[in-house]
Symmetry: C2
Subunit: 130 residues, 2 copies
DNA sequence: CGGCATCCTCCTGGATACTG
DNA sequence: CAGTATCCAGGAGGATGCCG
């Protein structure tokens, strides 16, 4: 989805979640962790110290080299992930979450709680229509 | 983005944010509020009691009838928004957040806080490279 | 006023093959 | 082992026009 213009959503002022005429931090955040693979990658990094490229690839089911590399680069650019390359043969590269990356986890956890409730809610709703 | 398979991300068990072999609540949540217009619409509904269709359209800058209608229908299906139609001429339709929709706001607020920090972080980083 | 139908474009992500 | 390069399909979203 293209976000060229949507950051500056104009709204009436007030105590809303964001400030007028600013880029929206939530949309900004979601762009960073958006797409099909960013979250799976982040989770896989979340419960380990450092993970090697192929280890990551095995962990994130179905991802291709292209997408894995691309996502890791983007996460790195945004400072959520660090890449450490060891000068060995065969090559070894390890990825891990930065402090900034870890700071995102509580927010995701909130979403997680809501999402679980939502799943229950939708299921209950589906059954009552049977 | 197609989520046909990505819900069931396989990960080593442990105290990670989600349970193995379950659909991931975070991805589920992000799918519901994802896309270009859902968040702008939700915010616009967040600080009002009830909003009429064209009022909403004026508030969410740049959205077309098609996208507005489509997004509202999807939000309604997921129980975040209610549509109330009044039997008048000319027709009047009002949209508002449900309780479930409001329960999402605290989670978004967390993301908002992180996003603001992230913006500062990225800006600082950009300047140090000048 | 509050939509829906149709057509079209572009961008994300997939498939496949190759390399230092 | 840890990636790149190239090509391609599908779907989200945009433009435009019509309707009860």
């Amino acid at each position: 989805m293209s976000r060229k213009t949507a950051y500056d959503v104009s709204l009436p002022k007030g105590e809303s979640l964001y400030e007028r005429d600013e880029i929206c931090p939530i949309i900004y955040a979601l762009d960073i962790i958006g797409g099909k693979w960013k979250l799976p990658i982040l989770w896989h990094l979340a419960d380990q110290e450092a993970v090697r490229y192929n280890e990551l690839k095995r962990g994130v089911t179905g991802i291709t080299n292209m997408m894995l590399t691309k996502c890791l680069r983007e996460l790195e650019e945004n400072g959520l992930v660090v890449r450490v390359q060891y000068p060995e043969v065969p090559p070894r590269v390890e990825y891990s979450l930065t402090e900034r990356g870890r700071e995102l986890l509580p927010a995701l956890n909130k979403l997680n709680v809501w999402g679980k409730e939502q799943i229950k809610y939708i299921r209950a709703r589906g059954e009552e229509s049977n």
